[in-house]
Subunit: 441 residues, 2 copies
């Protein structure tokens, strides 16, 4: 791995003191940050990145997504959740092939890298194909093969045993950039005995669990009526939280649920644009943060939220909390930035990432601040939360490797991916393939 | 004015049928669209723009903003509205000079043009300097010199008579790209007799009026207690709506207010990101649209919303309405696109703009759709509302003139503007000037 030196940039370190360095250097040796501030005198970089007019931030960890669902972007619009799912998403996915998963995830990877994301927590099917994208693209990921625990699971490519074999195939691969977890879909789909079995295997094999929790009032009511417990309490009773756990959404939770999530160290993934677009409501994140719950931010699937752009999710997280709870002082300063970086890294089990400091993983993003919407530079943190866009990202470094530089993806064949992803997406939903020159109408 | 031809693009015309053309041409003669579809056989363009993989949309009309307030971007964060205004915004503006206004507006113009905006409806002070920016930059604008009607107005540079002189200076200038209106700040600041005087002058001189209306419960309560009327009814009683009127915000309005706004043809400007960031609440726009009220979208001031990016406001308008009223079917299809284009043009009195069709003004924007987040292209309209970013804009044409092409502003000296805007902004708030290389910390 070549050594990298970034010179003369401003650095939002996101360390515990919120240190911001001006006109500073970052020296990267292998996959680790060696020094921040002055350039070490005996450091010999293979590549120097001029950070003038740039701001460095820890790279984004997208803490909950379904990356191959890029193929459904724009495919299911303006519909209520049940119709969105039943009439569009599941119909399209009924024709899903492993190749679709590969190209959909590759498309998502192009978009994620371009917008500053170094790692993603993916929950989908045929996950070997997503692992290939991670291996080739140079990102980090926690990968979860979703299982329902009902039927023969043929339609999703593998039952629980099959997903365990997937985990064995990829454990420790891609230079440790891939982590693996078990993926029971949710307490509202999976039978209790199945969840208990997953929990037992997770505990035995020290595997994390990534699932969906408490997305609607109907789910809560059904859980209480079937089990006499909220979804969170139900999962606890089955031992699910004995494993490190990422619970996506948790939109409707009681104070007791929150105390439980805090006590058990469960990470929560928040995906605000999906909540708004599908009109699912939103949770009061201050109730989570007050208890010390690790809340991270995810992009969810582009079939619901329309993009994989973490800067868009960060801005949305901050302004939606201010709006929903009518409190302009909510989510101040770098709160949402920390959620999108170090909290995500923690949720996904990547230790020592999400801070720009010596000894931390070299997972970071440079923003080009020489743009009209980032002037005047009164407040770099506020600009990153509220004004910076994914398109302001100029460089992305994951695990010490430069993945993106000024418009160019260095690890992925973007032109081929765009073409193949569209071809596979159109095949899946039955649209005749067309180029922009040959649209049928 | 050179004739332009755009070839082989997809066109979201926003005509009354919602026609979308594929692989079509747009011929522009002078400041007017001559033909759409096939290239006219006898048309001789001076410049040809290759529209392959691009989508054309009518240019955005930013229907309510305070463009010079770019100088306060990031300057007043995470504060409740009264503290935001009293401790930060008005303190900074107490040092305002005409030069600050020029450079602040020029910075905003760079950002607006880059993100597809062809026209803006500006409400601020020292407006001659904004008019200069419009004249130089090639945009269209309706310009409003804000007056309070109390004191000698020295701090805002002119009283009502002074603003009338401004209107006379600029009426019909810049090839008709500048329109002018009267700008009493609001019914909560301006005394009734002053508003009545403004209304009388507007009627006599056939001038529009642009003001702020009904932003908070306190304003409503005070209006009812002082005048026995809601702000909308109060304005009607003073004759304000006898003039064509843009009422920004209208966050808290009764059914009677809405009926009145509809009957009097008042346009309403909606600025969702300000509402969220300052936690002001949001109105139910379906109540407005149901009555046929012309609702347009504005960016407001970057001291409150952080950018001048209409695509960001469009996405926010759509998802915030879905979210707030828990209705995923709200604001379907191109609703928000129409608000941000033709409704804005109507509000600002620019006739025959906001549709891509022969005979309409050549005000349009091309989006480069060859980007990962715009694949697969299932639905061009949904992509423009939910996935496209300001940074996807590749070309902007206003009044038949190309203002922006693939990263380059053709009418404004962007490098100088960024530097001068920052210098003036720092002076205003007392920050020592610094370059990114020389930050003091």
């Amino acid at each position: 791995m070549p050594n990298l030196l970034i010179t003369n940039c401003d650095i939002i370190t996101l360390d515990s003191q919120g240190t911001i360095l001006r006109n500073a250097n970052i020296a990267i040796e292998g996959n680790t940050i060696l020094a921040v501030g002055d350039r070490p005198p005996d450091f010999h970089p293979d590549e120097i990145i001029d950070g003038y007019n740039h701001v460095a931030l820890p790279g984004f960890f997208n803490a909950h997504c379904h990356s191959p669902m890029t193929f459904e972007r724009g495919w299911a619009e303006d519909l209520p959740f049940p119709r969105w799912l039943n009439e569009k998403i599941w119909v399209a996915e009924s024709a899903l092939t492993p190749d679709d998963v590969y190209w959909g995830a590759a498309l998502a990877a192009c978009e994620m890298i371009r917008t500053g994301t170094v790692a993603f927590n993916d929950h989908y099917f045929y996950m070997d194909r997503v692992a290939e994208v991670v291996e080739q693209g140079g990102m980090k990921a926690m990968l979860t093969w979703c299982v329902f625990g009902i039927g023969d699971e043929k339609e999703v490519g593998a039952n629980l045993d099959g997903t365990l074999a997937f985990i064995e195939r990829w454990q420790g691969k891609a230079d440790g950039r891939i982590r693996l977890s078990l993926g029971p879909h949710s307490p509202y789909v999976c039978p209790p005995e199945f969840l208990a079995r997953v929990a037992k295997i997770a505990a035995e094999r020290k595997l994390p669990i990534h699932l969906h929790v408490a997305e609607s009032k109907e789910q809560i009511d059904n859980s209480i009526s079937a089990y006499g417990k909220t979804p969170v309490a139900h999962l606890e009773s089955l031992g699910v939280f004995d494993a490190p756990c990422v619970a996506a959404h948790c939109l409707l939770v009681t104070d007791d649920d929150l105390d439980l999530l805090a006590r058990r160290g469960v990470s929560v993934a928040h995906t605000p644009i999906t909540y708004m677009k599908l009109a699912m409501g939103v949770n009061d994140l201050s109730r989570f943060l007050r208890r010390g719950i690790n809340v991270a931010i995810g992009a969810d699937g582009p079939g619901s939220n329309a993009d994989m752009d973490m800067p868009a999710q960060i801005r949305q997280t901050a302004i939606l909390q201010k709006h929903e709870w009518r409190n302009p002082e909510a989510f101040p300063g770098d709160t949402a930035l920390r959620m999108a970086t170090q909290n995500g890294a923690k949720a996904m089990g990547f230790a020592r990432s999400g801070v720009i400091a010596p000894g931390f993983a070299a997972d970071l993003t440079l923003f080009d601040f020489d743009k009209p919407h980032l002037y005047p530079r009164h407040n770099l943190v506020a600009h990153l939360v509220h004004s910076a866009k994914g398109s302001d990202v100029s460089h992305v470094i994951a695990d010490g490797r430069l993945l993106y530089r000024n418009g160019e993806l260095l690890t992925l064949d973007e032109e081929k991916i765009l073409r193949e992803a569209e071809r596979h997406a159109f095949r899946m939903v039955g649209t005749e393939m067309r180029s922009m020159r040959e649209y049928k109408g």
